[in-house]
Symmetry: C2
Subunit: 350 residues, 2 copies
């Protein structure tokens, strides 16, 4: 870990260091917007086949590093491999979101395994080892998982619905069964992250994409506490584990999240007020974020202006440059090149 | 106005007074969940016919007051009457959201009128006068409009899309044309609210349903500043106008909104953290909100617990009890009766 701290800017920031040039990577940096990704994707039978083929998953993980020289590679996979391995039917149609056989009532939980079968996840861990071997020494390798609440919303609704109403209703109607599902996902996610560290990732990110749709009491119970338990469980086995939290949409709940979840850095979505974040978040924890993915799609002056705004807000403290959500599939490659050059150039000048 | 202050609890709260029992009303309290509404709706040819028929609009405005004894009636109408009267084609299909002929590019603005034709809105103002006549003296009458950003998102996308991406893209691509559209909507909305006050409303609410999808700079430019200009324009003509802002999803931007928009009270959506709101919002402005509409749909212990949480958070200061978003169509009437009894009973006991 000490060697990593010396060489990898992203890992240094996670340790609380302010880097002169902020490390940069982008959520969903491996994906459909890249022609080299589409070529590999076309060779796989399905999206999940791609995730579970170590050579191909490693290859698409490395593609954006070769092309853009990002400071971190993030394992190519999907948060829904966990429900998939637990026994729920998951499919991905190109151009649409994921589809799951929805869990309509508590009895449907019985079909799920009670713990994660690491044997079935071996290809994922193998992909990590393969990437690790190829990655430049200064580039961090990130693993990840979905937060239990976000996984549960997809498992219950069968996909992404407006404000994830089906899962919210389920949690009100069947609080005990819902708590059981969350417990299962906490245990499975912690075990999954521990194995990712064992396979060689430098840090992990917990994606809570749907953290923003809950009332405060439910946000505490279903988002924050389960994430806190995952972090504690991972640290018990991997004391120096570096962990980034990304509670998208948490808004006025961000401070409570930070007080409760012992993460090393917090990812901010594109809507978070930079004055709020600089004054109340960054003094407590390094920030990662939060460029609007639409500004990256649009490019030109709008992109430059948005990049400069993010840098002005956060580069006076420990900071990792990223988007506030994933790269959109139609994003031109030239815009990403422009982003990387501007972040590094502006920081070097500033 | 002075008389109103004496008699109407809701108007007193808007003046900064803490009422011993918080006044209560619910967003979308007139609507499909009421059988008496569905009867009147069935008599009208379309949803817009209902909005533009003074007798019917007045009747459905009054129905929830008769049934539940709320402390405020809100004019039955829709925020999209403004684009409709400006010349955009708007339809409402039962059970689905509104549909508009989308504005795909700046040239499409030319079909819009340059100002609001109050003649076409006469039925709305007449409905206000009719309600006014029937309303108990202690019950406030609220008018409303949609905020310019929210109206623009519907006008450009043709409806509600995830994160209102079409309007956000349009604003990046055509910032000058978009600013023109916002200016038109600021002028039209201010004129509309001024006429609502002239017709007899006690206060108005500005609904910014989609305030939560923008990055900070765009939130300032397209949500906050236009709302501030509407409030200033209304106050110029109606100095004692009482105005409630409802920037749904504003999250970490709520404080900037409050500093910039000279509203009398702020409506909070169901996701706002109560500790944050009690400590940083309520000392500056009365709060309205923020029960989860799903808790009202579910009823029982979940509803009681959610009501008590909202009361515990906010009833030590100026406060109007409301939902954090509109009543859902499947909400049982008994749950609303339970809510009103509990809010008034708990407050009387407490």
């Amino acid at each position: 870990m000490t060697t990593a701290l010396v060489h990898k800017p992203l890992v240094r920031v996670l340790a609380g260091v302010q880097e002169p040039i902020p490390p940069v990577w982008l959520m969903r940096q491996a994906g459909r917007y890249l022609p080299e990704y589409r070529r590999i994707r076309a060779e796989a039978d399905s999206f999940l086949d791609l995730c579970f083929n170590p050579e191909r998953a490693a290859e698409v993980t490395l593609q954006p590093i070769r092309r853009f020289g990002f400071d971190a590679a993030i394992l190519f996979s999907d948060i829904l491999v966990v429900p998939h391995v637990l026994g729920q039917r998951v499919t991905f149609d190109d151009g649409e979101g994921p589809r799951l056989e929805p869990i309509g009532d508590p009895s449907a939980f019985r079909m799920l395994a009670r713990e994660l079968d690491h044997g079935r996840l071996e290809p994922v861990y193998e992909a990590i080892s393969l990437v690790k071997r190829e990655l430049p020494a200064t580039v961090a390798l990130l693993g990840f998982c979905g937060a239990p609440w976000t996984l549960a919303t997809y498992m219950i609704a069968g996909g992404g619905k407006r404000d994830q109403i089906p899962a919210r209703l389920f949690a009100y109607r069947f609080p005990e069964a819902f708590a059981e599902l969350i417990d299962l996902l906490v245990r499975a996610s912690a075990a999954y992250l521990i194995q990712q560290f064992a396979a060689g990732v430098d840090a992990v990110q917990i994606f809570d994409t749907w953290a923003g749709v809950l009332p405060s009491a439910e946000f505490h119970k279903w988002c924050v506490e389960p994430c806190a338990r995952i972090v504690a469980a991972v640290r018990e086995r991997v004391p120096e584990a570096r962990i980034i939290g990304f509670p998208r949409g948490a808004g006025t709940g961000l401070e409570f999240y930070l007080e409760t979840v012992a993460i090393d850095a917090i990812g901010l979505d594109w809507t978070v007020d930079p004055v709020f974040a600089r004054d109340r978040i960054q003094p407590r924890r390094p920030i990662q974020g939060n460029l609007d993915p639409l500004a990256l799609l649009i490019g030109g002056a709008a992109l430059d202006c948005a990049i400069d705004g993010v840098l002005a807000a956060f580069s006076k403290g420990p900071f990792i440059f990223n988007l506030g959500h994933g790269v959109l599939p139609d994003t031109p490659i030239a815009h990403i090149e422009r982003l990387v050059a501007r972040v590094r150039g502006a920081a070097a000048r500033g």
